[in-house]
Amino acid sequence: MDQSDKDTVVRIDALQKWYGAFHVLKDISLTVPRGARIVICGPSGSGKSSLIRCVNGLEAYQQGTIDLEGVRLGENAAQTTLARRKTGMVFQSFNLFPHLTVLANCTLALRRVSGMARGEADELASQYLEKVRIPEQAHKYPGQLSGGQQQRVAIARALCMNPRLMLFDEPTSALDPEMIKEVLDVITGLAKDGMTMLCVTHEMGFAREVADEVVFMDHGSIVEKAPPDQFFSQPCHPRAREFLNTLLH
């Protein structure tokens, strides 16, 4: 492993994915260096969600490779488990466990996967709940929280497993407008702490502020990859320009 490999969290190479006859990801290559904050945007159906779901093995792919810190995903079950453990995932619909308290949502994996004792797990989870600014909700159930609070719990739950890479799949799309900011603030905070992240989002203000690279996808391909300043002021590709226009209107 040379120096460049050590500084790479994810290396996606020539990824191809089909849903039956539908070619959903076409020859995707993307390298995510440590500390990078990459925002993926594009029209719906462009393959953004499929791409980040491939990165933690939630979706299978047919060709190409994904390496997480040098561990190849999909090679065998043990490797895949090892690679997946390096990622944390935040879903559009939160997917908190409704039958468990906020605290138990955060500690389930700590206890069952990391084998941590209850007291230790509770303490660690409380630290992360504090980080997402809802320590006082620890003993409530997800159904008693607002959408924004639930999504912040979901972020804390993912952080508990100490991921090297956070994957966000449209984390604010299911939220009421007044709750979007509190979630984006938490994600921005993570970015400032140096967390490596891949974020699918339509929040262009957030992309401009936080991203160091914007990846624009359309019809299963990456059609443009640029720093946010350049992407928003002078996108090269006509479809990227078209997409930005529809967002502005």
């Binding site: 933690n56 939630l58 997946r84 879903f91 997917n95 389930l108 996967v113 159930y141 159904g143």
Partner: protein, 219 residues
């Protein structure tokens, strides 16, 4: 010959002597049927050729009369060197038979859980087994407490089938009294009322469980 209330009351303690046998059969069969049924459903969901075999097995169970199961276990297994007591056969028969029905109930309960739940567990690195135990099963139970309770009542009501194996449960005991005294109305009525009382207790218990599961997540 009219209904003699005093005689009916006199039969009560005799019939209740068999209550523990009825309860033993019913409770162990409920646990057995739920355990087998849940595992069948999990195996069926795994898919593949094995899933198809399990699917066929579930349909096969549901399409055959319960007496066929009891007779087969009791009279055919000994030819293959497996000799089980009447009580064991009775419990095994009821458990297997109702496992097919409960597997269907569990299927509906699991189908109603959003797909994102299993995905979230997977994304956290939680293994398949732990996902089933800690994420899927508790949510499934909340979805199916009522229909599962109905089948528990059905299992209780099926315990008299064990009379064909001469297991001394309540209805068999009532029938013995009837045969000895030539009075059928009183012992059979007492047995019937006792079953009714037990069924009501189970329904109340299920209702309590349902309420508890619903408030614990308050969504």
């Amino acid at each position: 010959m009219g209904f003699d209330l005093d005689f009916a009351i006199a039969t009560l303690p005799l019939i209740l002597r068999a209550l523990d046998m009825t309860l033993l059969v019913a409770v162990t069969s409920c646990i057995g049927a739920a355990a087998i049924g849940f595992n069948l459903e999990i195996l069926r969901r795994a898919g593949g050729a094995f899933g198809l075999v399990v699917r066929f097995f579930i349909d096969f169970i549901r399409a055959t009369p319960i007496l066929v199961w009891l007779y087969c276990l009791y009279f055919i297994l000994p030819f293959y060197g497996v000799r089980l007591s009447a009580l064991t056969v009775g419990i095994a028969g009821l458990s297997l038979y109702y496992s097919g029905y409960l597997a269907e109930v569990f299927k509906a309960g699991i189908d109603a859980i959003p797909k994102g739940q299993a995905e979230a567990a997977q994304a956290l690195g939680i293994g398949r087994r732990d996902t089933v135990i800690f994420v899927i099963a508790p949510q499934m139970l909340r979805n199916i407490a009522a229909p599962m309770g109905n089948y528990f009542v059905s299992i209780l009501k099926a315990t008299p089938y064990l009379a064909v194996l001469a297991v001394p449960e309540m209805l068999g005991e009532a029938f013995d009294i009837a045969s000895d005294t030539y009075r059928y109305a009183e012992p059979l009525t007492v047995a019937g009322i006792t079953f009714l009382a037990l069924a009501l207790i189970i329904s109340r218990g299920v209702k309590w469980l349902e309420d508890r599961l619903a408030t614990s997540s308050a969504r």
